[in-house]
């Protein structure tokens, strides 16, 4: 099953109300703005208000897993539930930044042969960069490099997000590490 079909299943979950707010995140969302890079899974950021939360803070995504099982997707890997050929990781909103990213997600259109284009929600370029900065692994820094080099991010909007979420110090550290002049200085 292609990645298109996997996303279609996620959209169906949203249409059925199993997940409410959602957006494609991670490397697949980045595809919408920059050249394709390899990834092994599909990340979906989901709102959590209607999911049960244990006293330990653990959020149960059981309704998603049950709905997927009803659709025949029962296989799990260490990175998530396998939908078709793709492991899908449902990531609950875990910060104010995630919340804002979900609220400001944009629509992307996916062509489906013989059918109307599928509309899915996807994180904005600016939020993808801010989240990558916050997570801060080497591959996240590489993703930020790609967004900057390919001119794929609105620097003014990015600056606002980083200021709102206390990420300016992390940004300056990133710039120093990357050996670049702060592109937000004049934004």
């Amino acid at each position: 099953m292609s990645l298109r079909k996997t996303i279609e299943v996620v959209v169906r979950l949203a249409d059925a109300g199993i997940i409410q707010e959602y957006a494609i995140a991670g490397a697949v969302a980045a595809l919408s703005y920059i050249q394709p890079t390899l990834t092994e899974d599909l990340d979906i950021l989901v709102s959590t208000e209607h999911f049960e939360t244990r006293s330990s803070g653990l959020i149960l995504l059981a309704p998603i897993e049950k709905a997927l099982a009803d659709m025949g997707y029962t296989e799990r890997t260490d990175v998530g539930v396998v939908i078709g050929d793709w492991p899908v990781q449902f990531i609950p909103v875990a910060s104010k930044l995630d919340e804002e990213a979900l609220e400001q997600a944009v629509e992307v259109h996916i062509d489906v042969p013989g059918e109307p284009a599928l509309t899915a929600r996807c994180l904005s370029a600016q939020h993808l960069v801010a989240i990558a900065l916050k997570v801060g692994r080497p591959k996240d820094r590489t993703r930020i490099d790609a967004f900057l080099q390919q001119g794929a991010v609105d620097l003014v909007a990015l600056k606002g997000i980083l200021e709102r979420h206390g990420l300016m110090a992390a940004w300056l550290t990133y710039c120093a590490r990357a050996g670049i002049e702060d592109p937000l200085r004049t934004a």
Binding site: R4, L31, S32, Y33, Q35, L38, T39, D85, H109, C122
Partner: protein
Amino acid sequence: MNDSEANYPDISDILARKEAGRRQRAALSFTEKLDALDALRKRVQPIVRARKLRERGQGGRPVGEA
């Protein structure tokens, strides 16, 4: 002798072509990029599978390591 004094070939056209390729790939539609990612993933799957098998067989250590 530094790089500018040495007789190295000019690779600026190669770098320009690479940059043009990057821009071209970045400009593909989301659908085209999803398909490209599917193809890319299929190509590396044998390598990923072999690595996982190796790691499992060696208790997490790559083959050849003590």
